[in-house]
Amino acid sequence: MLRELKFAIAATVASFVLVGPMAAQDGTPQQGGTLNVVIQPEPPGLMVGLIQNGPTQMVAGDIYESLLRYDANLQPTGQLAESWEISEDGKTYTFKLRKGVVFHDGKPFTSADVKFSMDKFLRESHSRMRTYMQHVESIETPDDHTVVFNLKQPFGPFIGIFEPGTAPMIPKHIYEGTDFANNPANNTPIGTGPFKFDEWVKGSYIHLVKNPDYYMEGKPHVDEVYYHVIPDAASRAVAYETGKVDVLPGGSIENFDVPRIRDMENTCITDKGWEYFGPLSWLWINLNNKPLDDVKVRQAMMHALDREFAKDALWNGLGKVATGPLSSSTRFYSDSTPDISYDPEKAKKLLSESSYNGETIRLLGLPYGETWQRWAEAVKQNLTEIGIKVEIVPSDVAGWNQKVSDRDFDLAFTYLYQYGDPALGVSRTYMSTNAKVGSPWNNVANYQNPEVDKMFDEAALMASPDDRAAAYKTIQDQIVSDVPNLWLLELGFPTIYRCNIKNPVNTAFGVNDGFRDVWIEKAK
């Protein structure tokens, strides 16, 4: 019977085509218009150098820029940098900056700002950047429009970090010598981006206006952008239907609502624009707890999970079933890892051979809304079917963080970004050096495998991409056979928008890269 229902869902999924960004490119841009976008939750602030959560990045993507952009295949293109080159030994990166770029307050943007941003500001207040910058020996600014990064040793992923969310360019003249965190300017962010900050009515909306002195001819096309704060998923759906908003970024409405919205008049949907983040969801397994330390139990659980069903019933068939620790859009992804597909029979068999006898497994759900709750319920049901006792442990965001940090769980939902490169987004969750209790984003499972540690270290510092590819292949095979986590899905977050809005998504960052190229086609 479950079969039959699969077909049913598969059918509904097949019935619509994903409209890729390419499709949206055609036609000549028209000027003007207002862009109404949903944002949620309300960002704590817009100064992306201090805060890097989703909503902040989304808005900041319009205000701030970095040196580069990345297309859907994570290939760098120019933004504030016209050109760049990497030395043979992979230790020197030289960027040539665009001329005539000014901040929103009219002050010119120069290499000094780059050095200040990377060396001072971000080192101090951007935790992810802090780790990246450890590889940087020194930053030189031979002239106003040249920046040279000298690395201690080759660091493959380095070229992948120059995006607004990671390396935003911050105005030196405003922040130098101030207390960054409490600088009043944080409330009126100043960047070089296509849009300027206008006003922010807390709990209601954020208003950006076109930056008239933007350095790219004729861009941006739209006059203003409203980010509407609507706390409740259902209301967000209503907002789109009643025409109050025109763009629903990934995850802003409940997945259950997607099909209905998707089928509306003049509505396009795409799951592109997440290639850089490559959000991968999985269940942490607390390897410190019996019987989870038994690989047979873990394998049994892995095969018990009907992830196809989850994808179809909960994610509208968007995204992919994960095959291992890397998401398929991440560099050096290998598609030939050992099989971990749904197979209840095999699961039962493995379980019977394993050391499991009737312990209750505590499953910690992710407090990010309906879909995740349902998912937890589904997983619980899956595991119950093969004879594992499961109890869902509820929690709010705070509780979840606490429990995961303290390793107070048996299984815990999570999903993390991979930032395009295993060295940036993957190794952190599998290296024993990173298994310290106290953070919910390191090697929470406490997976200990010296082999893997070693290979990760080496792979990160290899200069040649091919060598890295080979190294990561073995790593993936090894990890998958150890099953330290139960990998679920490469999440497909759909961006939904009115079809007369062109180019909402055209980089690996999707809407987070700002609406520089967006234009609205007036109804004829």
């Binding site: 049913a8 869902i9 609502d257 709750q373 349902r374 319920e377 509820p394």
Partner: protein, 279 residues
């Protein structure tokens, strides 16, 4: 007792309420036998509308689970929460009120200030906080509800005791050499009972509402299928499958309505003085 029944039956609403409640209770008890498989079992295609599939008269929810089974098991939870939390609330409120009313003066002041805090804090908000603190398991849901719903009991009981303690039969009891405990338990409380019973019946109703509101906000016990949970879960799909929110809502409405009707019936029967239809 007999005339209690005659008076109770005199109120048609109360009888209707009694019937509805009886049905709900029956379902709650019978649920495990009619729907032996857990209400969480995914039995069919998601979002099956009602009356489209044999064996699934009310269709399925977002994960293809039997809605009817959910409702049946939910009835059990709602009633349980309603009753237990009310009992707990009474267990707190009656002593507090009784002591305050009987030992007037300082004791009274202290206890009543204490009660006032709980009344001043918006109780629903408090319930949320409490549940955020103790993570939401059925037990804590019940406790939280009890904690926010005892003050009215205390006030009511206090008022009753206050007026009863000066009654001559209480003074007589004192002269007869009875101890305070005996006087409170055997002479005062029994006479304060009718209004308490009435209030209790209404409290059960309120508790059920509160529970549903809490699990609607996702603060219920996630391992338990309750009506509030069903609405909360179905809320996001209200546009595509409105019946998923509608049906459990009706269930709550009917149950609470029934309890209120019964409450009024009890009121008419137990406190003839305040009776609504007194000619």
């Amino acid at each position: 007792m007999k005339d209690f029944w005659t008076r109770f039956r005199f109120n048609r609403g109360a009888v209707i309420g009694l019937v509805i409640l009886a049905v709900v209770i029956a379902t709650a008890i019978a649920a495990p036998f009619i729907f032996p498989t857990s209400p969480w079992k995914m039995v069919q295609r998601p979002f099956l509308p009602p009356l489209t599939q044999n064996g699934l008269p009310l269709g399925t929810d977002a994960l293809g689970r039997d809605v009817l089974a959910g409702l049946a098991h939910g009835a059990y939870v709602s009633l349980l929460v309603g009753l237990v939390s009310t009992v707990v609330a009474l267990a707190i409120g009656v002593p507090v009120g009784a002591l305050a009313g009987y030992f007037v003066g300082r004791v009274d002041d202290a206890l009543m200030r204490f009660t006032e805090f709980f009344q001043t804090i918006p109780s629903f908000a408090l319930a949320i906080v409490l549940l955020a603190i103790f993570q939401p398991s059925l037990t804590f849901v019940i406790i939280a509800i009890a904690i926010v719903s005892w003050p009215p009991v205390a006030r009511l009981v206090r008022g009753e005791v206050l007026s009863l303690r000066t009654r001559e039969f209480v003074e007589a009891a004192t002269l007869q050499g009875l101890g305070n405990a005996q006087i409170i338990l055997r002479h005062i409380l029994p006479n304060a009972l009718p209004p308490i019973i009435v209030l209790a019946s209404l409290m059960v109703a309120q508790a059920i509402l509160l529970e549903s509101s809490l699990s609607f906000l996702g603060l219920g016990d996630p391992n338990i299928m309750s009506w509030g949970y069903m609405i909360g879960a179905a809320r996001t799909v209200i546009r595509t499958a409105w019946w998923l929110s509608f049906l459990p809502g009706m269930a709550i409405l009917l149950t609470v309505l029934a309890l209120n009707l019964i409450g009024e019936g009890l009121n008419d029967a137990l406190n003839p003085r305040l009776t609504r239809k007194s000619e």
